[in-house]
């Protein structure tokens, strides 16, 4: 397992080096390898499949344009995740503004939801997604990277360029908020 990871890292380093020399085929291979995890992260951070697709493409294109600034030995995944977290934060700010503008219409749609949405599992899923949507971007990034992607506190800190204490604090607030929100507690907005 460790040997395979080592080989994969070597191959990734080779592909990064080739991409830095302008080899777009090498970068395409990196995209193919990273797309599932990156688009999962984008989906978890935005809660929207279309936004996840657009955001992931934008992250990869930004990464390709700036690939020469990636230092030798630096983690490609941490770099991609960092760009994605920044892009998602901008997306969520726009979405929050839009939501405030369209709030009455959105409530009307929810009130008229069909019977499927009333199923317990679907309700829980919707509640979880709504709670995630209401989290501040940094707390959402920390929770998603730490819990859904299994990154350690140090890895999340490296990805988001913040301290380990900041990661722990944001995780603590995120969990408390989700817990209260799912229990029907006070709304943060």
């Amino acid at each position: 397992m460790a040997a395979r990871d080592g080989l994969e890292r070597q191959e990734e380093a080779r592909l990064v080096g080739a991409a830095q020399s302008g080899d777009s085929a090498a970068f395409e291979e990196l995209v193919r390898r990273s797309a599932p995890r990156l688009s999962a992260l984008a989906y978890q951070l935005t809660g929207d499949a279309e936004a996840a697709r657009d955001l992931s493409q934008e992250v990869f294109l930004k990464a390709f344009r700036g690939i020469r600034s990636l230092r030798s030995g630096a983690s490609l995944q941490a770099w991609l995740f960092r760009i994605a977290a920044n892009e998602a934060a901008s997306f969520l700010r726009r979405k929050a503004r839009e939501r405030r503008r369209l709030a009455p219409a959105a409530e009307a749609v929810a009130a008229g939801a069909g019977p499927l949405e009333r199923l317990v599992a679907e309700e829980e899923r919707a509640a979880v997604l709504a709670a995630l949507d209401a989290l501040p971007a940094r707390q959402r990034s920390v929770l998603v990277l730490r819990h859904l992607h299994g990154l350690s506190t140090a890895e999340v800190a490296e990805t988001l360029k913040c301290s380990a204490n900041s990661v722990k604090a944001n995780l603590c607030y995120a969990l408390r908020f989700l817990r209260e929100k799912l229990a029907g507690g006070p709304d943060r907005e």
Partner: protein
């Protein structure tokens, strides 16, 4: 920080396996003794389970493939990596610019009157001030180029230097005392 506050601060790390063994025993002891904290532990565990059940572990089917195809199409459309300018390259370009500008200035300035061969001290001072002003302008351009280069490096995330909001936490002051270790 009292026992309950410490418990709250360590709750997430405990459930995600980031609390060291040494702290886990004290954490579990407190959970067994404090009904309020025990309830919080159960509720938070249920919250994480609900998050797992929400089915957002991966993007919906087809998204990753669409991303890879979209990026490949754009790369074939001619997107290229940015040329990374090192500090020396910027300095060399600025020096070339300075030399070229000085050359242009010297060759295109109006012809001097014959008496200019013997310039007065006052005229020499004026000439010197003009050259000095020109040199200052070139140095300002060089400085702007350097700042622009640093800003681009920072924006791409691979360069040195802090980023906006690096240490930000959203909420009250961060708890202390929590340490990480996967269980």
């Amino acid at each position: 920080m009292n026992e309950c506050e410490r418990f709250q601060a360590q709750l997430g790390e405990y459930l995600l396996g980031g609390l060291p063994m040494a702290d886990r025993a004290a954490f579990e002891r407190h959970a067994a003794q404090c009904p309020k904290c025990s309830k919080e532990l159960t509720a938070t565990r249920a919250t994480l389970a609900a998050l797992d059940r929400a089915g957002i572990g991966s993007a919906p089917a087809g998204v990753a493939e669409a991303v890879a195809a979209g990026v490949a199409a754009k790369l074939r459309g001619g997107v290229r990596p940015r040329v990374r300018l090192g500090w020396l390259s910027v300095a060399a370009a600025a020096a070339c610019l300075a030399i070229a500008a000085l050359g242009v200035w010297l060759t295109t300035r109006p012809p001097q009157p014959p008496a200019a061969a013997q310039l007065s001290n006052e005229q020499l001072d004026i000439e010197a001030q003009a050259v000095e002003a020109h040199a200052r302008a070139l140095l300002r351009q060089l400085d702007e180029l350097r700042q622009e280069h640093e800003a681009v490096s920072r924006m791409m995330g691979g360069g040195p230097g802090p980023q906006k909001g690096d240490e930000r936490t959203e909420g009250p002051a961060p708890p202390t005392g929590a340490r990480r270790a996967r269980s």
